[in-house]
């Protein structure tokens, strides 16, 4: 069966994911070392140790994302996160930065290393380089590839590959985007946040709700209409005579029906985005995808449509996995 890798922003969400059938749960420490450094989220060292105990007792794994790029002069914060993860008995760490990978390979050789999507390793040369130089065992593929390209990559690499199947969708190559810091001063790479809530302001203007990020208007929605969070790349902008979602519509990824093709393409693990979502969301999505991977293993058709209401803006896309997305 394909491994189902599920998000947890809190210990409650981790328990919900494990109980709902997650094979693995990924989470992070409550600081700038992980790429979902949001208010009220994430794990203290004690939380982490308890989370590992809970998951291991039920046959599930815990993967810890330490996937921001350490700040010059402050690397010890990231190095301590690695030590803490190893002491907590986690099953793997998910890293993006070359320097941190080199440090982990040298100082924590027994700690299994996965390459974060934030490293945006988008071809076999990159993947093999990370595998050879740092002993990376699994690569989370960036969301810019088609299923055919994923298949071609798997023919040329030895390491496992993991792909996103559900949740928020990055339009840009991950880890290679400074749109958020351009507008707010805080970026995924440096601060572990994108379009941070501290810089969001909603304001009712006439019959519209304006959502601004760092003072830049990201979208305006009529009163009462669904209002997606003002994520920069999902905003509505104007260019010349055109106004619209220039980068990406406010949609969310749902690749459920591609699972059989992803399996055939040699993908080992399926990842669900959403460490910022509630335990209720996690439980529902994990249960639906556990059913899907079991159906895939049994050769049955994919179950459909159970998750529509949980997606942003409530429309779903198969994203870059289909070539026409580009």
């Amino acid at each position: 069966m394909m491994e189902l890798v599920c998000p947890a922003g809190t210990p409650a969400a981790l328990r919900a994911a494990v109980d709902a059938g997650a094979h693995s749960v990924y989470c992070g420490f409550a600081d700038e070392t992980n790429a979902r450094n949001f208010p009220g989220l994430n794990f203290s060292p004690d939380d982490m140790a308890q989370a590992v105990a809970y998951a291991h007792a039920r046959g599930a794994k815990v993967l810890v994302a330490i996937n921001t790029f350490p700040r010059a002069g402050a690397e010890p914060i990231w190095h301590r996160a690695l030590s803490c993860a190893e002491q907590s008995g986690v099953d793997a760490v998910i890293l993006a930065d070359i320097g941190l990978l080199a440090h982990a390979a040298a100082r924590h050789p027994k700690l299994r290393r996965h390459l974060s999507v934030q490293a945006a390793a988008a071809n076999p040369d990159a993947i093999n380089l990370y595998a050879e130089a740092f002993g990376v065992r699994r690569v989370v593929l960036p969301r810019v590839l088609t299923v055919e390209e994923i298949s071609a990559i798997n023919r040329e690499v030895e390491v496992e590959t993991e792909v996103f199947v559900f949740g928020g969708l990055c339009v840009m190559a991950e880890g290679r985007c400074s749109l958020s810091s351009y507008a707010t001063g805080q970026s995924p790479n440096m601060n572990g946040v994108c379009s941070p809530a501290e810089h969001v302001a909603y304001s009712e203007e006439g019959h519209e709700l304006a959502a601004r990020l760092g003072g830049f208007t990201i979208h305006r929605t009529p009163k009462g209409a669904p209002a997606p969070y003002p994520t920069l790349c999902k905003g509505c902008f104007t260019s010349g005579p055109q106004t619209g979602h220039i980068f990406e519509d406010p949609v969310s990824l749902d690749a459920t029906r591609l699972i059989p093709r992803l399996a055939k393409a040699g993908v080992s693990a399926l990842k669900i985005e959403g460490r910022q979502r509630s335990r209720s969301y996690v439980a529902q999505v994990v249960r639906a995808f556990r059913a899907a991977v079991e159906a895939q293993a049994a050769g049955d058709p994919m179950p459909e449509g159970a998750l529509a209401r949980l997606t942003e803006g409530q429309a779903a896309t198969t994203g870059a996995y289909a070539k026409r997305w580009r």
């Binding site: 439980a283 159970a306 209401r309």
Partner: protein, 177 residues
Amino acid sequence: MPALLPRLPRAFQLVAMPLPVVPLSLLLGAVTRRMARTHPVMLRRLGAYAGKRFLIDPTDLPFVLLLQPLASQMTAHRRSSPPEHDARIAGPLSAFLAMMHGAEDGDALFFSRDLTVEGDTAALLALRNAIDDAELDLTEEFAALSGPLAAPLRLALARAERATGLALHRIDIGVLG
């Protein structure tokens, strides 16, 4: 498509209407202090946001609530004279209760506009995440509070839950979807 959440039936609104805000504040204050005591992790999770003032506006009730986590305080106020606050979250009572009890995802409620937010968005996000992690159960909190009245109160809340469709107790993972 907006979430299919129950709106509070008119009869219950009428019952709630003459409720004096002072005794209500006393009751809410007691529940809040109990929750702060039994779920200390909530305050830790709120971190720097614990000192913020949250205005909770259940739009189908005649009053608004001011939550001050650091002081373990929650008070009721008339909607016509809301107190000063850093962040406001508004929506039908059922949406709050569903989010609090894990029956609905907060983000899904925001996206569908069942809940609307204003002011310090980051503080509201922290509050949402802290509540989600605490796995609160309002029925248990009220029941635990009232000592000898626990059993009858629990029964009354269960009846209210059935009658109104409001999630007044924690939805355990096993019974979801």
